[in-house]
């Protein structure tokens, strides 16, 4: 190979690129930040357009009929609300292990056990739930008491005040790399456990409404945390 080493040698001997200045490095970082933001927006848009994923959780067996004094159903009380809901005082049967004072208008507690309860819009009932049997909480709000739980590391959360208790609001993961459009609000109870409020995007509740709803939840002595 009489000539090739010269070609390669010539390529190897090309002058090196100039060192990267701090401005150039900062610009690279800024482009990275913009790309992360753009990807997040794309994913949220995609997840919002995708069919809702049914969240199935094991919620217990106490079934509630419609409360005698429950407010009349409203147009907003459909399973996929498109109209902003309003929060009202809750006058129906209380769940096991919790006390609820505020719910979206027309919504009722439909299922509960000492660890969790579900609040559903009018027309949604739980058909003959069995203890420990899975219950769909699609388009419904689920509240659970957890011994220990945290947001995924990928989630950026905001601090909120839940009746004087420090809460955090954010989103769980829909997959290993994507955030869900479901909202989680977590705050501590008096015993140091975590109350987790899970609100699907289809309820159309604002973050401040979720915080207000959470502020009306009290954990009673009958409650037992999941995983604790």
């Amino acid at each position: 190979m009489p000539d090739t080493p010269d070609v390669i040698e010539a390529l190897r001997n090309l002058p090196p690129a100039a060192p990267a200045s701090p401005d150039i490095v900062a610009a690279d970082l800024e482009r990275g930040h913009r790309a992360v933001t753009a990807r997040r927006r794309r994913r949220l848009a995609l997840s919002g357009a995708a069919a809702a994923v049914i969240t199935v959780v094991a919620v217990g067996a106490v079934r509630f009929g419609p409360p005698a004094t429950s407010p009349p159903p409203t147009a907003s009380g459909t399973s996929s609300a498109t109209v902003r809901l309003t929060l009202v005082d809750y006058l129906g049967d209380q769940p096991v292990g919790f006390k609820v004072t505020t719910v979206p208008q027309g919504w009722t507690v439909t299922s509960s056990d000492p660890s969790a309860f579900v609040v559903a819009p009018p027309g949604v009932t739980v058909a003959s739930p069995r203890p420990g049997a899975p219950v769909s909480v699609q388009h419904q709000i689920m509240v659970s008491l957890r011994a220990s739980t945290t947001f995924p590391a990928q989630t950026s959360t905001e601090e909120v005040d839940v009746n004087g208790r420090p809460g955090r609001i954010g989103h769980p993961l829909a997959s290993a790399t994507e955030l869900s459009d479901t909202t989680w609000l977590m705050f501590p109870d008096d015993a140091g456990h975590t109350v987790q409020v899970q609100v699907p995007a289809s309820t159309n509740l604002t973050e401040s409404q979720i915080v207000r709803f959470a502020g009306g939840i009290t954990v009673t002595g009958q409650a037992r945390p999941i995983g604790g």
Partner: protein
């Protein structure tokens, strides 16, 4: 998962340290066009930042090299559609008085190779990667690297003396 501040700090440190060699690699892969090379490196670094939480520090350089190769090939494809025309003739390269005229000539000859062949030659012989490392960077089989780099080398070997004579009579 690393936190954002930690992630940004690691990434900044990596870019400050490795950017010059990525620019050099990109320059060779895009046939010496400095502006195009800068585009390629910016694209690659953006992709690297997106993947940074999952990138292990010990493999970051290899991953960065792979991103540069992919971005260079993508760039070449898009530019090919917009601007480039195939020619059976080698491009004329003007003789320059710069001290790097051999290098300029070598880069011009490198530009006559197909993008993947060029990448194989650059990574294997100029960057000095092993066949396995080159295959990883190009995301292809080792057999492909062997054949591409050997054929590329042969073409350079055939062209370099003729071009030398043509440019520097």
């Amino acid at each position: 998962m690393r936190r954002t501040s930690e992630k940004d700090g690691d990434f900044t440190e990596f870019v400050a340290e490795r950017r010059p060699e990525l620019v050099r690699l990109a320059t060779l892969l895009v046939s010496g066009d400095a502006a195009k090379a800068e585009d390629v490196v910016q694209t690659a670094l953006t992709r690297i930042y997106l993947a940074w939480p999952k990138v292990r520090r010990e493999t970051a350089t290899a991953y960065a090299r792979r991103c540069v190769v992919n971005a260079a090939i993508d760039e070449r494809r898009s530019l090919f559609r917009r601007r480039e025309q195939l020619s059976a003739q080698l491009p004329d390269v003007a003789a320059t008085e710069t001290p790097h005229q051999d290098g300029d000539l070598a880069v011009a000859l490198l530009a006559t190779l197909p993008a993947s062949m060029r990448a194989a030659v650059v990574l294997r012989y100029v960057e000095g990667l092993s066949i396995a490392e080159t295959a990883a960077a190009m995301r292809c089989g080792e057999g492909n690297v062997k054949s591409q780099s050997a054929r590329g080398l042969q073409k350079l070997r055939e062209q370099f003396p003729a071009r030398t004579q043509h440019v520097f009579p």
